[in-house]
């Protein structure tokens, strides 16, 4: 089974989606322009006009989870090929992946123990 036609089809769908959006924008533009009024284009901020831009330093409270996620996420890269051959290899595969997941689970337990699994 050749895969290239499938990728082309996916690419085609992407192009169709973009084209759909463009047609919609074109339709929208043909229906008229907004009136230019002062203060209309200011982003909402509980009733008053925002004076400063919103792009400032901001504490993201879940960064402990993010660090854990970056590491833990990579397990998926190894898990998919493993899952495909699991039935074929049987108990070997179970033990291999069991050891691997135990190692990763230690990391999760360590993070939990150190208080990484809460709002920082």
């Amino acid at each position: 089974m050749k895969s290239i036609p499938h990728y082309l089809l996916l690419l085609g769908m992407l192009v169709v989606t973009v084209a759909f959006a463009l047609v919609l924008y074109l339709l929208k533009a043909s229906l008229g322009k907004p009136l230019a009024e002062p203060g209309k284009d200011v982003p909402a901020e509980s009733g008053q006009l925002a004076l400063k831009p919103a792009w400032v330093r901001y504490h993201v409270h879940y960064y402990g989870f993010a660090l854990l996620f970056l590491c833990f996420d990579m397990e998926m890269a190894f898990m998919y090929p493993w899952a495909v051959v699991y039935k074929e290899l049987g108990i070997t595969a179970l033990l291999d992946m069991g050891v691997f997941l135990m190692i990763l689970f230690l990391g999760l337990v360590y993070t939990w123990n150190q208080g990484g699994l809460k709002r920082q």
Partner: protein, 103 residues
Amino acid sequence: MALTICLSIAAVLFGIGLYGVISQTNLVMIMMGVELMLAAAMLNLVAFWRLLHPHTYALQLFVLVVMTVMALEAAVGFALATQRFRSRGSVEVEEAADLKENA
């Protein structure tokens, strides 16, 4: 032909990544440069797998390992940056001269 294309593109990406690593002052931007260089390495590995040894799956596994290294580098780098920011209030490498002995 295909191999030449892939290797050339990887070489250019590697050059851009190295330029970024040396020219940026921000630790996170430096990590972006490193990621670009690792990505170039990955491209080389995939090209070698496909065009030279399509039945050697150790090469594909190598790509997985490089991808893992990318993620781990990012995680440890962010952790260092967080601690640095906590103690000094910035992640600029030019302000990190105090890490040097008797500076």
